[in-house]
C-alpha cells in the first residue's frame, strides 16, 4: 500500500513538473522582471535589463530591452530567457534560439483577461503555477469589485495621454483601454486602429473629454497639464497626472491596483 502511494505521489509530481522549473532565468523586459518577483521566483533570476525595477538592482545586467547583450546572456548560462513580443526584437529571440538557449516569449495583451491568462502561463513555465493562480484570483476579485461599483456612476469620457510630442494615446487594442472601460469610463479614442495611436490636439478638443489622464512617461509632465488648462476640457474637466509603473505593467496585480486608482479618479 505504502509502495503504491509512493508511486502515485511520484507520478503526480512528475505530471505537475512537466518541464523542470528553470533555475537561471534571464528577463529581457522590466515588466517580466516585475512579474517574476510577484511570482516569488526572484531568486531564480540570473540576469535582468538595465531598466529593471529596484528589487533587481543586484542582479547581473544584460543590456536593454532593444539591445540586449547576447554575449552577456550566453555568459550567464541561462536555462530560460523570457522575452516580450511587443518590446523585444524578433532578431534577438532568433539569435538566442540559434545558440541553443530556450526562449519563452510573452504575447502582447489587449485586455485584462489576456493578461491573466498570460500570467498563469508564465507561472506554469517557471514552476510557480500556484502563486500565479492565487494572484490572478485575487486580482479578478478586485477588478470585479471596481466594476460593480462603477455601474452606479455616469460614464465619463476619458482622454488617456502617454506622449506629449507628438500626442500618443491608447486604443482598445491595448490592455490600457481596460483601465478606462472597467472603471466605467469611455475611452474617446478606443476605436482607432493602432494600439498606441498618434492623435492631434485638435482631435482631442473635438472629442471633448471630461477627464484627461496624463501618464508621466518621458515628455509627459506637469507642463502638459498646464497646456490643457487653456482649453475647454482642461478648464471644466479633471486633469490627473499618473506617476506609477502599474499603468504600463501588463500583470494582474498591477492592473487591479491601477484600476482602483482610475476608479477613484473617475468617481470621487
Amino acid at each position: 500500500m505504502k509502495k503504491i502511494l509512493a508511486i502515485l505521489i511520484l507520478i503526480s509530481a512528475a505530471c505537475n513538473a512537466g518541464e523542470p522549473a528553470p533555475k537561471r532565468i534571464v528577463s529581457l523586459a522590466p515588466s517580466i522582471t516585475r512579474s517574476i518577483y510577484q511570482l516569488e521566483a526572484g531568486a531564480s533570476l540570473a540576469g535582468v535589463t538595465i531598466y529593471c525595477p529596484a528589487q533587481a538592482k543586484d542582479k547581473e545586467k544584460i543590456g536593454t530591452l532593444l539591445e540586449p547583450n547576447i554575449e552577456k546572456i550566453v555568459a550567464l548560462r541561462p536555462d530560460l530567457v523570457i522575452a516580450t513580443k511587443e518590446g523585444n526584437r524578433p532578431e534577438t529571440v532568433r539569435r538566442l534560439n540559434e545558440l541553443g538557449i530556450p526562449v519563452y516569449t510573452m504575447e502582447s495583451f489587449d485586455n485584462f483577461e489576456a493578461i491573466c491568462n498570460g500570467f498563469i502561463a508564465l507561472g506554469k513555465r517557471i514552476g510557480r503555477q500556484e502563486q500565479a493562480n492565487a494572484i490572478v484570483e485575487q486580482s479578478r476579485r478586485r477588478v470585479e469589485q471596481v466594476r460593480k461599483k462603477s455601474k452606479a456612476h455616469r460614464r465619463s469620457r476619458v482622454f488617456w495621454q502617454v506622449g506629449a510630442q507628438p500626442l500618443f494615446t491608447v486604443s482598445h487594442h491595448s490592455f490600457v483601454n481596460d483601465f478606462i472601460e472597467l472603471a466605467g469610463g469611455i475611452n474617446i479614442f478606443a476605436d482607432l486602429k493602432s494600439r498606441y495611436p498618434q492623435v492631434s490636439r485638435e482631435a482631442v478638443l473635438h472629442a471633448d473629454p471630461d477627464v484627461i489622464i496624463l501618464v508621466a512617461m518621458g515628455d509627459v509632465t506637469e507642463n502638459e497639464a498646464q497646456k490643457w488648462k487653456n482649453f475647454k476640457p482642461g478648464r471644466t474637466g479633471k486633469i490627473v497626472t499618473l506617476n506609477n509603473t502599474v499603468f504600463t505593467d501588463p500583470a494582474p496585480a498591477s492592473f487591479a491596483e491601477g484600476l482602483e486608482i482610475i476608479s477613484r479618479i473617475l468617481h470621487e
Binding site: K61, N69, V74, R89, R95, E98, L99, S194, Q198
Partner: protein, 328 residues
Amino acid sequence: MNNKIVILFCALAALLCVSFAISLSSGSSSMTPGRLIAALSNPSGTGTDSVIIWRVRFPRVALAMLTGMGLAVCGAVFQGLLRNPLADPYTLGISGGAALGAAIAIVSGANSAGALTLPLAAFGGSIFSVALIYFISSRHNFSTHTLVLAGVIVGFICSSLVLFIFAVTDASKLQAAIVWLMGDLSTASSRLIVTAGAAISAGTALLWMFRQQLNILTLGDEKAAHLGINTALVKKIIFLAASLITGATVSAAGVIGFVGLILPHAVRRLAGPDHRVLIPASALAGAIFLPLCDTAARTLFAPAELPVGVITGFIGGIFFLLLLLRKP
C-alpha cells in the same frame, strides 16, 4: 613609390590581424588570457567560453569585416566613378531604398515571420532604388552628374517615405526600426553572413577587374571614350556591382554610415588615387575599421550596447577632421 605601397599593404595586413585579435578577444565578459586561449583553440567546444568566442563574437566580427570591406570598396569606387568626393552608398540613395524596405518589414510585422524577411526586404528596397536611379540615368547616357542627382533625389524620396511610415506607426515598433537604422551587427545569423559575404566578395572581385577602366573614367567621360572605353557600359557594370555590395551589406548589418565615405578618402590620402591600389587598400581598411568600431560599441558601455553607426560616425568623423587638418 612601389616600396611605399608594399609597406602600406604590409601595415594594413598587420593591422587587420591586430583588429581581428582585439575584436575576438574583447567583449562584455572578460576572460583571463588562459581561458581565452583555451576557448580560441576549441572552436567546436560547447563550454560557455567557446560558445561566446566562436558562436557569438566570431560571426559578429566576421560580419563587421565583410560589411566594412564592402562599404569602403563601394565608397572608393563611387567616388572615382562619379568624380565626386561626397559620393558613397548613402549619397547615392541605395541604402535609402534598403532602409525603406527594412522599415516596411519591421513596421508591418513581417519581420516576425522569419529570419530572412528583413534582409530580403532591405535588399528589395535597394534594388528598387537602384532600378530607379538606373532608369533615370540611362536616359542621359549615364552621365556622371545625372547619376549623382538621381541618387540624391531617390535617397530623399526614400527617407521621406521612411519618415512617413514612422509617423503613422506604433511607437513600440518604431524603436526596433531605429535600432536597425543606426546599424546593427548583433543579430545576424551565420547563414545570412555567408550569403552576404558571397555577394560582397563577388561584387568586390568584379570591381577589382575593372580597376583600369575606373582609372581611365576618372579622367572624365569624354577622354575615357577617346581612349576606347565604352563608358556607358563600364559605368553600368560598376554601378550595378557596387549596388549589389551595398544591398548585401545593408541587408545584413543595417545602415552603417561614414565607413564608405571616410575610409576611401583616408586611403586616397595615403596611397594616391590609383584604383589598383585604392580598391584593395580600402577593402583592408574597411575590414580593419568596422570590427574595431563594433568592439568599442560592444564594450564601452557594457553590458549596454551602442549602435555601431554612432561609433563610426563619431570616431570616423574626428579621424577624418584630423586628416583634413594636416596640410596635403
